[in-house]
């Protein structure tokens, strides 16, 4: 079972990202469940969402304490909370940022994508916020083998029809192509 | 098991013979009555019987003897008599 933790801020779509990854996994014959951090959601505040993916049905509901993958939707979150808390040995961290967070210390692999710029370029903005959830999923697909990029694009276009679906699919693809691993010396 | 539903059927005299509640009873003086049916319209009890020709009578089985009919009769054709 793979456990993924999404850290974002209210309004960025972390919950939707977790839901989409489960939908995509299901399409590929896997099982999953996704849930948000429970409580009142406030725009701008840190908000977590979680997903579990497995080859067999999942019925575990305890919270995720030791994620395999951490996806950070906003570089500010790094200052607000310890994003690598509980990360498994050799776990994967994916961060939406335009510069490498040099002081983030952990034992694992780090992937970077500037999803915010991708979304601004595509005008994927709702109420003034770049909605980076579909873009960051592209990065997740690049960094891990949890779901294929083609499946993600398909799921995105099933969730949003027409122009908006296409824009989100583009963001996802673009992020997939622009995501890179940072070679780090620990 | 048969389900017991709290439902009730329409019935005259649902609380019993309310005529027994009276202390006095209305008596219609048919000679004086002008058949205006005001007493019938204002009876709180549905116990003034109105006939085709607009003459009226009292259903003493259920009349509670409130006296509204006598009070409202414009020609004093109804008298309250001790019961």
């Amino acid at each position: 079972m793979i456990e993924i933790k999404f850290l974002g801020r209210g309004g960025q779509g972390a919950v939707t990202a977790a839901n989409l990854i489960v939908q995509a996994a299901f399409k590929e014959g896997k099982f999953g469940l996704a849930y948000p951090s429970f409580g009142a959601e406030r725009r701008g505040a840190v908000l977590n969402a979680y997903a579990r993916i497995d080859n067999k049905p999942i019925n575990v509901h305890q919270q995720i304490y030791e994620p395999d993958v951490v996806v950070v939707l906003d570089r500010k979150v790094i200052q607000m909370t310890n994003v690598v808390e509980g990360l498994k040995e050799n776990g994967i961290v994916i961060i939406n940022t335009d510069k490498i967070p040099e002081d983030l210390v952990f034992n694992g692999r780090l992937f970077i994508v500037d999803a915010t710029r991708i979304c601004l370029d595509l005008n994927l903005v709702i109420s003034g916020w770049p909605v980076v959830n579909t873009a960051i999923l592209g990065a997740l697909s690049k960094a891990t083998d949890i779901v294929k990029i083609d499946t993600l694009v398909q799921v995105i276009q099933e969730n949003w029809k027409g122009e908006i679906g296409k824009k989100n699919a583009d963001a996802c693809l673009k992020a997939y192509n622009e995501t890179y691993e940072v070679v780090r010396v620990i | 098991m048969k389900v017991l539903i709290p439902k009730s059927k329409p019935a005259k005299g649902a609380v019993g013979k309310t005529g027994l509640w009276r202390t006095s009873k209305p008596v219609v003086n048919h000679n004086k009555c002008i058949k205006c049916v005001i007493c019938w319209a204002f009876c709180p009890e549905t116990t003034i019987l109105r006939f085709e020709d607009n003459s009226v009578d009292i259903d003493y089985e259920y009349c509670k003897g409130c006296g509204v009919c006598a009070n409202e009769c414009p020609v004093n054709a109804i008298e309250m008599v001790e019961d």
Binding site: V22, Y35, H61 | M1, P6
Partner: protein, 411 residues
């Protein structure tokens, strides 16, 4: 077993939250009228329903009322003339609605209500807890509690069957947030299966009509009231088998069965078992497997699926096999114990060789309940069986008084 195993046969699979599963089930049950009032974590049920009505032309009336009290009143008024009715609430909303909930139970109107469990204030709290769902068990309602999103969908459908058959309304409880906001795949059966399973032309002796007018719910003398209460008591008491039968019938149609009143997990040879409701059952099952592997303890899980009717018969049978039951209550009866533990003890007291029953309280207000918690419970139960540990009136899970005392000092 409730999760979709054979995907090839599935014509209609959706990845949804349990709240959307409720709304989909209500749509598939062809509910006529619903009362809608927002409260977390129930709100999205009504959002989905209103979306279906306004964008998919579903023939259902949603009355967007001004309070939970009115939401249940709407369901009552609709059911009273023979319509299929639904509403949903949680926590404070249920408390505000309470008067109507009791009235509908006593009125024998087959309303179905979803309660997305949530703790109650003060202080303000959104987290999951089962106390609210359990309250209507004293109010003349059946109370069912599914484990995952698929079962939530299926149980709403089963609830209409149960309500229409017994003329007792049914609460379907589901774990707030832990299910209500968690997406999982569910399979939706063909509409014809549902239509045949819960036909609308069942006898409705309670339904007001102008052809044969009667009065519903008028005053009754004290010397006749006891009989009405007895009738509700007996109907619910006698429904234990019916819940099983409905579940079996459903499994014939869909291949999905949940064990009726109780799902039994690894109980055949079990010496100790934890009794639990809802989503945490999955974690409890993991724990049972683990303690079997790690310590060789013959552990099992009793998943209580029906709280009313309370499965006295089935529980008694299970109690003949196991030596200790740890009842994990995500609720409490202040000063006494867990509400379910109290009922389990009542149910088993008359047995000759009754097992140890240990009340555990935890997870209140949404505090996380972990697989490890259930492992501890199962290990403790084994120690009790072996005489190495005393049974206590109540044991608390995850209680950290030192932490809050530290805060209090700061205040």
């Amino acid at each position: 077993m409730s999760i979709i195993e054979d995907k090839k046969s599935l014509s209609n699979v959706k990845v949804v939250t349990a709240n959307e599963a409720v709304a989909l089930a209500v749509k598939c049950a062809k509910v006529d009228v619903g009362g809608a009032y927002p409260i977390s974590p129930q709100t999205s049920i009504m959002e989905y329903l209103t979306k279906y009505i306004e964008t998919e032309n579903i023939p259902m009336e949603i009355v967007r009322v001004e309070s939970e009290h009115s939401a249940m009143a709407v369901a009552m008024g609709a059911a009273a003339v023979g319509a299929r009715a639904f509403t949903a609430t949680a926590s404070q909303g249920l408390l505000y609605m309470a008067e109507m909930v009791y009235w509908v139970g006593s009125s024998r109107l087959p309303v179905v209500m979803a309660i997305t469990s949530r703790a109650m204030g003060a202080p303000w709290i959104l987290g999951n807890e089962h106390t609210d769902v359990l309250l209507p068990r004293e109010w003349g309602w059946m109370v069912l509690f599914p484990e995952d999103n698929q079962e939530v969908f299926d149980t709403i459908i089963q609830a209409y069957k149960l309500a229409d058959t017994t003329l007792v309304p049914v609460v379907v409880g589901l774990d707030g947030f832990i299910l209500s906001h968690t997406t999982m795949p569910i399979s939706i059966p063909d509409q014809s299966i549902i239509d045949n399973f819960i036909p609308k032309n069942t006898p409705k002796p309670y339904a007001l009509n102008t052809e044969d007018p009667f009065t519903h719910g008028n005053a009754v003398h004290s010397n006749l009231y006891l009989e009405f209460r007895h009738n509700i008591f007996k109907t619910i008491e006698d429904s234990e088998d019916l819940v099983d039968e409905i579940d079996k019938e459903w499994s014939k149609l869909t291949g999905r069965s949940y064990g009726g009143v109780i799902e039994e997990f690894l109980l055949d040879d079990a010496e100790v078992a934890v009794l639990v409701m809802g989503a945490s059952s999955g974690d409890a099952k993991e724990a049972a497997k683990k303690v079997r592997e790690k310590y060789g303890i013959k552990a099992g899980v009793i998943r209580l699926r029906s709280i009313r009717p309370f499965p006295v018969k089935r529980l008694s049978k299970i109690a003949q096999k196991v030596k200790a039951i740890g009842v994990f209550d995500r609720n409490m009866s202040p000063g006494l114990g867990g509400m379910i533990a109290t009922e389990v003890k009542f149910a088993l007291y008359d047995l000759k060789n009754r097992p140890i029953v240990q009340s555990y309280i935890g997870g209140l207000g949404g505090k996380d309940v972990k697989i490890a918690d259930f492992e501890n419970i199962l290990v403790e139960l084994k120690e009790m069986v072996d005489g190495k540990r005393e049974v206590e009136k109540v044991k608390w899970v995850g209680l950290d008084l030192a932490a809050i005392e530290k805060f209090l000092e700061e205040v």
